[in-house]
């Protein structure tokens, strides 16, 4: 790859995203906006991982909140029951998520289409049920407190601190995902997305590539889950629930499957929208549903790919 291509595919997007992270706070009138911003980046991190799986490898997961749950409860259970430092538990959670993904991924990823969807959904529910039932470890449905993260003696506290941590981590995760997609593995994944059989004919180890990306996406979700738990100081089994998984998928599809930048946009829309819709009081939910439908009808490729395509078409005229 020549230097120019390198600049265009990695450097520019990374600078753009980093600029967003840095410039946005200049418009923030209060700490509440930092909280919203931090939530956007935390969810966007999980969505980037899921987008690798859905948009590039073409595999749906309706159970990804399960990995969010593993990450979240790692930083809750580790420090509380074992006295381990939070940052270590965050890594341990990510490794555990990867290991779980490795164990269940091999048999599950053989399934196709809607069957893969129900299998991942079932897997996610199993995690949520365990978190709900094992109250001695997890505090049950009321959840448990999560001790604050301490880094080099600095107790991470407050929305602005978490905004910068989540933002920086997101930029890192974003860059990593871009790199992955431009690598041979990335190209192989896209071949699988287009046609699994054709990819196999080309000599791609389809099962292995799918498993790899499943593990990576699980680790992204796990880190996001850990951040969410540390940020909130409390975790409940809702984090791993079915609705959480649906929300993640909605973020991927809304932003644009296969668009890493779309992940950020999808997460931003679905985190910010409910906050804006509160002024409509009891019509809030109906409007949220309506807006999701309208987005999908008119921007069916997702926001980023549709807008990019429209702009390209317009420029040609």
């Amino acid at each position: 790859m020549n230097l120019r291509a390198l600049i265009e595919t990695r450097l520019l997007p990374a600078i753009l995203v980093a600029a967003i992270v840095i410039i946005l706070p200049m418009f923030f009138p209060s700490g509440y906006y930092y909280r919203i911003g931090a939530l956007v980046f935390i969810f966007a991190l999980a969505v980037v991982g899921l987008n690798l799986l859905m948009g590039f490898a073409g595999q749906v997961s309706l159970g990804h909140a399960g990995f969010l749950g593993i990450g979240a409860y790692s930083v809750a259970i580790g420090p509380t029951h074992f006295g381990a430092p939070s940052w270590l538990c965050l890594f341990a959670g990510a490794i555990l998520s990867g290991a779980v993904a490795f164990a269940v991924g091999r048999p599950i990823l053989k399934l196709k289409g809607h069957y893969l969807a129900i299998a991942t959904l079932g897997f996610g529910l199993l995690i949520a049920i365990v978190l709900n039932n094992e109250a001695a470890w997890t505090g049950g449905p009321d959840g448990m407190n999560v001790p604050a993260l301490t880094l080099f003696g600095w107790r991470v506290h407050g929305s602005d601190a978490w905004y910068w941590i989540a933002g920086a981590t997101f930029v890192g995760g974003f860059l990593l995902a871009l790199n992955l997609m431009e690598s041979p593995t990335g190209r192989a994944l896209q071949a699988i997305h287009d046609s699994e059989i054709a990819a196999r004919v080309l000599g791609i180890d389809v099962a292995r590539k799918k498993l790899t990306v499943f593990i990576i996406s699980a680790m992204y979700a796990s880190v996001a889950g850990s951040f969410l738990a540390l940020f909130n100081g409390l975790v409940t089994p809702d984090v791993a629930g079915f609705l959480g998984s649906i929300e993640l998928v909605a973020m991927v599809v809304l932003g644009g499957m296969g668009s890493i930048f779309g992940s950020l946009v999808g997460a931003a829309v679905l985190v910010v929208l409910p906050q804006v819709l509160t002024i409509f009081q009891e019509y809030e939910q109906a409007l949220l549903g309506l807006i999701v439908m309208i987005f999908m009808i008119f921007l069916r490729q997702g926001i980023v790919p549709s807008v990019t395509a429209a702009l390209a078409g317009w420029r040609k005229c």
Partner: protein, 290 residues
């Protein structure tokens, strides 16, 4: 023995509910390859509309009829105004539209109706039928019979009518179906309308047992979807068998193992079955063409 029988009755009751909900998924999937996540809201609409019509003083049978008509209209509208305009979008995008529709319908229902739980009187009384030391409610048998009738009608429809064949043709290959003169748009219209009607009937029949509220659809759709997939999506018989199987597993697990892990047991077995039989119990193998 009486104990096992009682567990079986429970499994039958719950399973019949799942089966009825699962049946709604099959026709839409067959005609359009979409998993309709708003199916649970059809079930909710059937039950809630009946409850509110009846409260307004309309006789129960008429209230049920109105509920079915209203829900069928909603199903038709969902296709006409949301699915059809997005024709050509990826399956995931279409499914996302049905998820949006489900949130929308729930949001509207909480305004039009209310946020409380409601019940309907059972069709044949509330006195349980005693059998071998175990008790079952007559309404459970009604739900079961309802599922059986719908399966039979769907089978007759697909096997014996031209319209039914057209649905199958549309499912198999939309372009080819259009080439032989099938109005595929009307077919999908039809499948949404009938699925909505099935959902409404399910809602009316199960409300005397399971109660209803504006948000009852989410969990029912989840279990119904699971049942349809376990049976093999697209097969009405599979949907019923899948539903009954999940109901039985839950009841037996609650009875003999642990009631807190009965849902887990059901999903664990679904996972195992799918790993062994990737098309579900009665699903057809689809060949991927390159």
């Amino acid at each position: 023995m009486a104990e096992l029988l009682q567990f079986a009755f429970s499994g039958l009751t719950v399973g019949a509910i799942y089966a009825l909900v699962a049946l709604g998924f099959t026709l839409i999937h067959n005609a359009s390859d979409i998993i309709n996540f708003a199916q649970g809201e059809f079930v909710m609409l059937g039950g809630m509309t009946t409850v509110f019509m009846a409260t307004a003083g309309i006789p129960l049978p008429l209230a049920m009829l109105i509920a079915i008509v209203v829900t069928t209209g909603v199903g038709l509208a969902l296709h006409r105004f949301a699915i059809e305009p997005a024709r050509g979008a990826s399956p995931v995008a279409l499914i996302m539209i049905t998820i949006g529709a489900s949130v929308f319908l729930r949001g509207v229902a909480q305004i039009v109706f209310d946020k409380r739980f409601h019940s309907l009187p059972p069709l044949f009384g509330a006195d349980p039928i005693q059998f071998g030391g175990a008790a079952i409610l007559p309404q459970s048998l009604v739900v079961l019979a309802g599922a059986a009738v719908i399966v039979a009608l769907l089978w007759l429809f697909v096997e014996r009518t031209l319209l039914g064949k057209a649905v199958i043709a549309t499912a198999a290959n939309r372009l080819a179906a259009r080439l032989i003169g099938v109005d595929t748009r009307r077919i999908v219209d039809f499948s949404f309308a009938v699925s909505a009607a099935i959902g409404a009937i399910a809602g009316i029949l199960i409300t005397p047992i399971a109660l209803t509220s504006y948000d009852v659809g989410t969990l029912l759709a989840l279990k119904g979807f699971a049942a349809a997939m376990l049976g093999g999506i697209g097969s009405p018989l599979g949907a019923v068998v899948g539903g009954l199987l999940i109901g039985m597993i839950e009841a037996l697990c609650a009875g003999y193992v642990s009631s807190s892990y009965k849902d887990a047991a059901a999903f664990l077995i679904i996972l195992v079955v799918l790993i062994a039989m990737p098309q579900g119990l009665f699903g057809r193998v689809k060949v991927e063409r390159v």
